[in-house]
Amino acid sequence: MSENNNSTCNEKAFDQFFKSHSKLLRNYLYYKFGDLDQAEDIVQDAFIKLWSNCAKVPLDKAKSYVYTIATNLGISITRHQKVKFKYQDYVIQRNTDVNNESPEFIALEKEYMEKLKNAIAALPERQREVFLLSRIDKKTYKEIAELSNVSVKAIEKLMHKALVTLRKKIGNI
């Protein structure tokens, strides 16, 4: 029963770990599976599992552990019910970023944003995941690559594809 601040079983270390990783995990699960409430439930379940196995999972492995657990949970849930990507109520608009646009843009904005959100919802899962991790969570390609265990190059390709797909979907508005 040695006191070890770096153990996952150490409550402080665990809390700290939850605080620094739960939000991104929740967003990641949402982009992947399309339901934000469900994503938050999965986060809870994954971290409970981590806690009950804390002795077996060292802190430096804990991140990939919760991502694996959570992704598997998400897959087993969505296998039974095909979830359509839900963006209403979940995706909101930051007010600040678009303000310095031209008046025409602002007039167009509402309609445009709806279209954009629809287009994002219709993206293939992997493209949507990469696109939103980059745009909403401001993650670098390298960070995104680490999350899903693929190369940076693969992420760059997906990002490029996502933009091309969106461009096609939105058309000339």
Binding site: D97, Y141, I155, M159, L163
Partner: protein
């Protein structure tokens, strides 16, 4: 560039600002450029419903608690050796404020709500609040106890002589009238009394006796009393007598003896004859045990 089938990461590089000057100005004059700028502006304006991390964490903690079912009592191997003494297992189930006490010669193992263990030595009293335990791991103690604390939030032992705080470790606290002694067996503990604040690491002990404090090191891994031996290190004999009285439920009639005399040594807790002989012969004191075995009279 944009339509170049070979450059399948062109837009990614653009988003990251990695295009060369020429590439960028070429892209900017392309009819598609404005559309992509717009997509990016729109996407960058998106955000998600807020995630309340603190709320989610406390939700997690309450679920974690529900998942735990009852307390499991474990008897540690070395207690098997102590078969001669009644070991009573304390179970706490109903009232929030739990109190445990031991009589002469008794030991008591108490499993605290988080699974931490407290072993009370003879003639000791300990209490804690069960309902408040998650927020405040605190035990009030009079007498002597050995603790094995599960990792977690701060764990405090409160005595009249001072406080001992730890995060997760094994330590022994002995507190009675003027004596306050703490031995740390694992991890780190902090000891606070009126005069001092001491940090003890494994193998270190602290004692406050009236006005004097001292620290020393030791090499045992558990307190000797767990294996039925009381041991003393340079301590006034009044405390040795008190321990004899508590272990054997006897009264020692000491008349005109200097109780400040220092004693270093051990005595067994399961054989009164050996115990008395060990203590008094080293002190060079003649003694006799009354017929009912309740009183020891000392002769100078």
């Amino acid at each position: 560039m944009l339509n170049d089938k070979k450059d399948d990461i062109f837009l990614s590089r653009w988003v990251n600002g990695e295009l060369s000057k020429e590439e960028l100005s070429e892209f900017q004059s392309h009819p598609e450029y404005q559309h992509y700028v717009k997509i990016m502006a729109g996407a960058d304006a998106l955000d998600l419903k807020n995630y309340d991390i603190e709320k989610e964490l406390s939700k997690l903690k309450s679920k974690r608690r529900d998942n735990k079912s009852g307390s499991i009592i474990k008897l540690w191997p070395y207690f098997a050796a102590a078969a001669s003494i009644a070991i009573i297992l304390g179970l706490f189930l109903f009232t929030p404020n739990k109190s445990f006490s031991t009589h002469y010669g008794e030991k008591l193992i108490v499993i605290l709500p988080d699974g931490s263990e407290m072993t009370l030595n003879a003639k000791s009293v300990a209490s804690f609040n069960k309902d408040d335990w998650d927020k405040n791991r605190a035990v009030k103690l009079e007498g002597e106890a050995f603790f094995k604390v599960k990792k977690g939030s701060k764990f405090t032992v409160i005595t009249d002589n001072g406080k001992v705080s730890v995060l997760g470790t094994q330590f022994n606290v002995h507190s009675q009238s003027y004596l306050f002694e703490v031995n740390c067996f694992e991890g780190k503990v902090s000891v606070i009394n009126n005069e001092n604040k001491e940090i003890l690491t494994a193998g270190n002990a602290y004692r406050n006796l009236g006005k004097t404090s001292e620290k020393w090191t030791f090499s045992t891994s558990t307190p000797s009393w767990l294996t039925n031996t009381s041991s003393f290190r340079s301590i006034p004999i009044r405390y040795v007598f008190k321990e004899l009285e508590e272990q054997y439920n006897i009264q020692i009639k000491e008349e005109g003896l200097n109780l400040g005399y220092k004693y270093t040594g051990t005595f067994p807790n399961d054989n009164i004859q050996v115990a008395l002989k060990t203590v008094f012969s080293t002190l060079g004191i003649e003694y006799s045990l009354s017929e009912d075995g309740k009183t020891v009279v000392l002769e100078k």
